[in-house]
């Protein structure tokens, strides 16, 4: 059994640890059809992030993913209102290919907002390999941008088979597997072994004991990133689960901030965040 570590003690004692900032690379914003969300707004997010000690939340507004009539305007508005702790993924819904082209064409107008793209293929019911996503992939590939994918084991839209196809096709984009190809853990591990630009993200992974230990045991911790689906899920809950896993403090630090800083390094300078 793991000894109580300094990091675990410190987080339990104070709730936040200044020398261990947290980057949450999988968040959302706004209401959502299937559940009551307690904190929908950017202002509420900013308050929570400050209280919990989250250095940066990279999110994609539910409207950008689920309401084409609102779209990415919701992302832009939120980040510009609270630029100290928020950045966004430009949401891509390939059911509306003209909008995809438009959002990609105007991406550079919002370098203060976007760090990359988000695809929610299971919900959009179009595979991540579909040509309608190509404009986003092409820009991500050219600039080595992060692309956060919602991924779920065995899904024809974003499961292991199509993830492998995009990883073969795009070698420069940073492919973040949201939910780590959930439930197909061995396949997720193999994808990270086979492709140096594939990362595992922990949202919906940490509510099951033992998976993170398996990931770290097989892969080390340098390609595992912290994410919560905030405001669906609680930062403290997720931080607690990472601290509760039988991995080292160094692994926790990689997961909480070091890996994220490397991934975002080319996109924006963490020092540009002015928040304390």
């Amino acid at each position: 059994m793991k000894k109580t570590t300094d990091l675990k003690k410190a987080f339990f004692a104070r709730g936040r640890v200044p020398d261990c900032p947290i980057y949450d690379l999988h968040g959302h914003m706004g209401p959502s059809y299937g559940l009551h969300i307690n904190r929908e707004t950017a202002a509420q997010a900013d308050t929570v992030l400050k209280r919990v000690g989250i250095r940066l939340l990279v999110f994609c507004h539910h409207a950008a993913l689920m309401a084409p009539d609102i779209g990415n305007a919701a992302n832009i508005k939120a980040v510009r209102a609270f630029p100290d702790r928020l950045r966004a993924y430009c949401g891509i819904n390939p059911n509306y290919p003209d909008q995809v082209k438009k959002d990609v064409a105007t991406f550079d107008r919002y370098t203060d907002v976007y760090v990359g793209f988000k695809l929610l293929a299971d919900y959009h019911a179009i595979p991540i390999t579909d040509p309608r996503n190509e404009p986003a992939w092409a820009l991500a590939e050219a600039r080595a941008l992060p692309v956060l994918l919602h991924t779920w084991g065995n899904s024809v839209y974003d499961g292991q088979t199509v993830i492998r196809k995009v990883a073969e096709r795009y070698t420069q984009a940073k492919i973040l597997l949201g939910h780590s190809c959930h439930s197909c853990w061995d396949e997720a591990i193999q994808l990270v072994k086979d492709f140096p630009n594939v990362y595992l993200e922990l949202c919906a992974v940490m509510d099951e004991r033992g998976i993170l230990e398996r990931f770290v045991g097989e892969l080390g911790s340098e390609r595992i990133i912290f994410g919560t689906d905030y405001p669906w899920f609680s930062h403290h809950y997720y931080i607690g689960t990472v601290l509760g896993a039988v991995i080292s403090d160094d692994d926790c630090r990689n997961i909480f901030y070091r890996n994220a800083e490397k991934i975002l390094g080319g996109v924006f300078n963490a020092k540009s965040l002015t928040a304390k």
Binding site: L35, F233, S234, H236, Y237
Partner: protein, 252 residues
Amino acid sequence: MKPTFFDANLCFGRPIRTVYQPAKTAADLQRVMAHAGIAKGLVWHVAQRDYAASDGNRLLAKALAGRKNMYGCWVILPPQTDEIITPDFFRRMQRNRIMALRAFPDYHRYLLNRVVFGKFLDEVTERRIPLLLSLEKSSVTWPVVYQILAEFPNLTCILCDIGIWNSDRFTWPLLETYPNVFLETSLLSLEDGGIEETVARYGAERLLFGSNFPERYPEGAMLAIQHAAIPTADKKKIASANLEGLIQGAQL
């Protein structure tokens, strides 16, 4: 401030399908609790569900003997089959430190309603013995919860594992309507603001800490309660005082 944690929702024994490093015995579970910082537990043995309520209940009672920081939950079946509920049932509960009940109607193939459990659950209600229902673990679905509470509105009922996705749309109407309904927090604390908003509306008295070990990491729910944006007194209630109160209030 580190509150004392009394865990309403944890289990030991090896399940029919594997789970990551379960506690095989009650002693193993005590070690897990000590490592995580959990002082007491209201526990059950997974064989009560996976194998048989009868032998599982006996296994649990035997394992609890002499373990002062553990109480047990017995699993019920319809009284008509005489498998579990016998005339000396409550006396046997008391002798064996069994302070609560659990039910797995779907998995154990019966209906949890007044036709089946009328007199028995009337007495359970009267004695203020908590019935724990889990929305996971092949236990119950929301319509079953709503049905049983409509039929036994004063039943002391602890809803466990309330869902990965926020369940306020299911749970808040129950908290509003039934004063003896409580929520176990292993998944409420997974929701952003879940603890804070429920406390603000219905009071900290309605929440009970639970870890859902071995399926989940206890540290997630513990850190979320310890650093929730609620008063310290409320954290103490949720962490242990409310469950202590229910256990002490049960008349066996």
